[in-house]
Amino acid sequence: MDKEFIITIFSENTVGLLSQITTVFTHRNVNIESITASESAIDGIYKHTIMVRNDEDKVANLVKQIEKKIDVLKVFCYTPNEVVLQELALYKVKRSRNVEDLVRRHNVRILDIHDEYIVLEKTGHRDEIRELYKMLSPYGVIQFVCSGQVAIIKSRSELLDEYLSVVNEKQRQLNSTK
């Protein structure tokens, strides 16, 4: 049965890396629901967050195939309840009293005010973002953009750090046996 998974990929920052990763998805005919990529907390290491809906075994295999890419350090796969997920959306909406009420009630930031429209920013869970869109729709949403989802795991430690300490130790041993 298809379920939602959040795949986080830590990689070196090499040219074409994103295409290396997406190739694995196309090869296995898995659709990417959402993707974000940016530098991680560790210098030089990039973090990609990819959402998929698919069968659990297929996703487990996919994860291993991504990890097989030489420039990929480590891949983790989570279910939605293991992570805190957020995305960011911008709405360009016609100005009206109703809209301003909604802004007050939904903890929405106003980024820009124009004679005709206002630009709103909402950070939150995908459902909240879609919900707000629905509420604003009757008053005229001129433009809407939304980021991919970013995720942070609920467990205490960063799992990549464990991986890095293991491989750094391996490297140290290799160098000392030279």
């Binding site: 090499t14 030489i70 890095l164």
Partner: protein, 578 residues
Amino acid sequence: MTAGFSDNTPQETPKNDFPRISGSEAVIRSFLAEGVDTIFGYPGGAIIPVYDALYDYRDKINHILVRHEQCAIHAAQGYARASGRTGVCIVTSGPGATNTVTGLADALLDSTPVVLISGQVGSTLLGTDAFQEINFLEITQSVTKWNCQVKRAEDIPAAIAKAFYIASSGRPGPVVVDITKDAQAGMMNFDYKPINFIRSYQPYADIEESQILEAARLINLSRKPMALVGQGVILGGAEQELKEFLEKSGIPAAATLLGLSALPSDHPQYVGMLGMHGNYAPNIKNRDCDLLIAIGMRFDDRVTGDPSKFGINAKIIHLEIDPAEINKLVYADVAVLGDVKQSLPMLTEKISQRDHTAWLEEFHACYNIEREDIIEPAIERKGAHLRMGEVVDAVAQKFDDAILVTDVGQQQMFASRYFRFKQTRSIITSGGLGTMGFGLPAAIGAKIGAPNREVCLFVGDGGLQMTLQELGTIFQSEVGVKIILMNNGFLGMVRQWQELFYDKRYSFTELTNPDFELIAKANHIPYRCVERHEELDDAVSEMQQSNGAFLLEVRVEREENVFPMVPAGQPVENIRLE
């Protein structure tokens, strides 16, 4: 010229330790540092600087000029698989590069270590649709283990060092280093450091003791085990470790197509080849097994048939170096991740000395059925026409320790079934990709990689014509390959499927062939043709006694079928004897 490299500022003092050389020469010197003495290639515009540098190193590097870039990479594959070393080839940008894609895919699926250096247009022209420019990194993304582009001369040694390390370590595979023309021409201080560590790439897992213990426990409890030997044993150089494991455990062992020759064919525990056209015993007994021990193999669908029915009554132990293969197609009850060269001795230590004579007898009984129904009729010198099985058998009798190279199709299956293997690295065939046209160039590479061994190529009339131009390479480079052309005037394997599954509708599988004698003659290759049983042995002897290359054309029965056969997608126990 791009910024940031090879500034020819006169005030710069070259470091004495590091000679100042061109990027092209750095390519060649990097090869030498990796112990390369043979490369396969084809020159062209964007790789001329490397060829120019190579001109000064002709005494150190043997360059084989092929006739088509696809054959450069197939030859490098053949070389790698015969010699156990990394195959190397060089091609130019654009069409030179794209012509290698089939070979890269083949090497990826069959885990063959190959380093391909491709020329690329100057870095300032990248992305401009320049003459002979293609985005080779993007194209080869899914057919390489790794690829990279080098745009500065000083980055060449590190890229090549990384390429050799990645190609040959862990589960081997093809890598591409795409070098822009200005990087080849630029000057740099040459300093070569081999690489043995990449933080994002850990090719050898630490073997988990707990998995070894659990595997040993299952082996010790098992009453009807079978070992499935794959190419991982050969790639890991673990033939001796395999033998020790088998001889202590007493377990019958079958081989995959690529795992052939890891164990000598006459080993008392060897029970034959797995797979669609494999032997009867290891397929039919699959259902009876209570334990399958897969050693360096990946459960290809040609081996498993319907994977959900494979080993249906068996627990499965999977010894494998590539984590992505574990649980990919067949669920492993115990997975031992790591190099089989390490894990097999650990396992051997923990298992009890066992004797499975009675169980082994069951395989022998099945073999006897196959021998009577299939093998003897296939190899006997009877009938109106020569048949492929008897040809392979006749060649195997005279060439008793040769490297078998095959093309793809019926001759591939007959050859792998009826050839006999004494030592490891004795079969070179396109298993995963099934590349027709692979045989001839791979045989060239194999002979060059193992010059002291005989190389026998079995090839069909279809496959030979796919890379026929390489007869020119054989002539020019004096490559002593024995070519056995099984000419049936058909694309035989497809015709067989059309006969069995498509109502004998032979849609475009019949070939009207050229005169192969004239072709051999044009390439100065000794030739003989046989059509009758009585001539066969004499012709094989003539081929054996002839120095260097030989083309033996055998006119075989036109509509012979390969049996046994597991129909595609069915459980292996549905193996058909006719």
